[in-house]
């Protein structure tokens, strides 16, 4: 019941994946992804819907058999020793993996008994986790009466009956209100502090930025970038120039001028007459603004800022994560 066994294991990475491939009929969901996740880290897989995040995670959690490539999880080979992998991991899927008809307590006892805890030990472990996740008061309520945040907490608690080497969290906060999201974030940080390696998928840039030490950006089944959040931002350039026009009618002309001056592609905001573009230096931004004004394009406002992860994502994929952009070919 101590962490010794866990700490003494070899310091190889928690996950090493090489060229993982998964096809569903004609669709290649994951098209050859390499991944190294060091132990004890929160690692985020960031990408839009349908990028292949969930498929990648399901392969690493032994739920889907890869069509190509290889991987080890906590030192165990995914295809040769899936049961050993299962002993070392836990997964909380996108849809609550709970029995709605049972109470929260019964759900935890069920999983504890499947792991091999006997009667009383199983009940004690369940109660311990209910307390740690602030669910003691709801212990004897059926899960179908739980709120979204409570379900998520119970779901994650069920993944921690036996402390996993790697915890997979598939979109842990999708559909939660801001308060519940903060709660789940705090829980994830606490788990990482206690030494659990966490691999999570998310389509929220903020979530990856807030939680993860490293981020892999995935799009169309491929990894298109990886690094710390700072590295990803730095790769995009020194900063973004944001320009708001006084007259929306000048949008096309202004975009053409900026693109020519700064040798980069402009992102248009649909709501206002605003344009954003990567500027390699403040001087270059200054020169571009001067050209706009010389052309008689009146500005309502302009600013220079560090790129947000959202902008980084756009620069990498040509897609906004939060809004649908009609022209997605831009970056490819």
């Amino acid at each position: 019941m101590t962490s010794d066994a866990y700490r003494e294991s070899a310091p190889e990475p928690a996950i090493v994946a090489k060229g993982l491939i998964k096809r569903f009929g004609d669709v290649t969901a994951v098209a050859g992804i390499d991944l190294i996740v060091p132990r004890g880290m929160i690692f985020a897989i960031l990408g839009p819907n349908g990028a292949g995040k969930t498929t990648l995670m399901r392969m690493l959690a032994t739920l889907t058999v890869p069509d190509g490539g290889a991987a080890t999880v906590m030192g165990h080979d995914l295809t040769a020793a899936p049961d050993a992998v299962r002993s070392a991991i836990a997964m909380t899927g996108q849809f609550a993996s709970l029995d709605e008809d049972l109470t929260g307590r019964e759900n935890l006892i069920l999983i504890a008994r499947l792991w091999g805890f006997k009667g009383r030990a199983a009940r004690e472990r369940g109660d311990e986790l209910l307390a740690a996740f602030d669910l003691s008061d709801a212990a004897t309520k059926q899960v179908k009466d739980y709120s979204g945040g409570m379900r998520r907490r119970l779901d994650i608690a069920a993944s921690l009956i036996v402390t996993p080497g790697v915890l997979f969290l598939d979109e842990p906060t999708t559909g939660l209100d801001p308060k519940a999201r903060q709660g789940v974030w705090r829980m994830i940080r606490g788990l990482a502090d206690s030494g659990v390696t966490i691999l999570l998928t998310t389509q929220y840039l903020e979530e990856a930025d807030q939680l993860a030490s490293r981020i892999a950006v995935i799009d169309h089944g491929r990894k298109i970038a990886e690094g710390t959040s700072r590295e990803l931002k730095a790769a995009t350039g020194s900063g973004f120039l944001h320009v708001a026009l006084a007259d929306p009618g000048h949008l096309d002309r202004a975009a053409a001028v900026l693109e020519e001056q700064l040798q980069s592609s402009v992102q248009r905001s649909a709501e206002g007459a605003t344009l954003s573009i990567i500027a390699k230096s403040p001087e270059a931004a200054n020169a571009a603004l001067a050209t706009l004004i010389a052309d008689g394009i009146a500005l309502a406002d302009f600013s220079m800022g560090q790129p947000t992860l959202d902008e980084v994502f756009f620069a990498l994929t040509g897609e906004r994560t939060t809004t649908d952009m009609p022209e997605r070919e831009a970056a490819e």
């Binding site: 849809f95 993996s97 740690a132 602030d134």
Partner: protein, 273 residues
Amino acid sequence: MSDRPMNDLPDTAGLRHVARPPKPSAFSNALVFGWRAVLKFKHVPEQLFDLVMTPIMFTLLFTFVFGGALAGSTGDYLQFFLPGILVQTVMFNSVYSGMGLSTDLGKGLFDRFRSLPIWPLAPFAGLMVGDILRHLIAATIILTIGLILGYRPETGILGVLGAFALLVAIGFGMGWIFMVLGLLIRTPTTVMTMGFTFLFPLVFASNIMVDPATMPGWLRSFVDVNPVSLMTTAIRGLMNGGGSFADVGLALIAPALVTAILAPVTLMLYRRR
């Protein structure tokens, strides 16, 4: 631990590292899933209502509306019909368990089970335990109603126990058909439609409701080899007398074949998902 003050946000500082206990046996895994099935009875008792209403309606309808015309008197008909309605009940109830599986698979629950290092067939063994309990409960209720209406098992308690044991074996075997349907079909209502479409000809073109003597020859040749007829003949023999080991053996052919073929298919489909 429970008197810790409630916070706005969960506090995971109290979480300690817990190593896994010794690996439990496959049998113990299956028992845990059986326990889940029992909990379901506790929390969703209305499922029993679905299970017994149809057979009760059938029993009353056939006995009092058709019984006199079919067998001369309602009492004689009940004596003929009751063992058969038990077979029909087990068949129909198996469809509901396939629906339940399809519903479960649509949620994330089975992903959790599959990512645990347990005996892969344990969840199905657990479903079977639940099914068998359902069959026994439904059969007991129907037999009780039969007894109230005047049904008398001529072979006594041993005959009834034997009949129930055979019903459990039938339910176990036929259950695999609906497990496979539940695994293949994503919408529970489609499982139900397909299940009943498959079962209706089997159940009605059998000797459950009427003596096949008056049926046309081509139909009779089907009814005679229909597994449902063979099961009904055996159950009837066990409860009303005149049964033989040969009858029981014939009744068990279909369940045994189905188990031998579909249990591995179930495992394959489950792993492939």
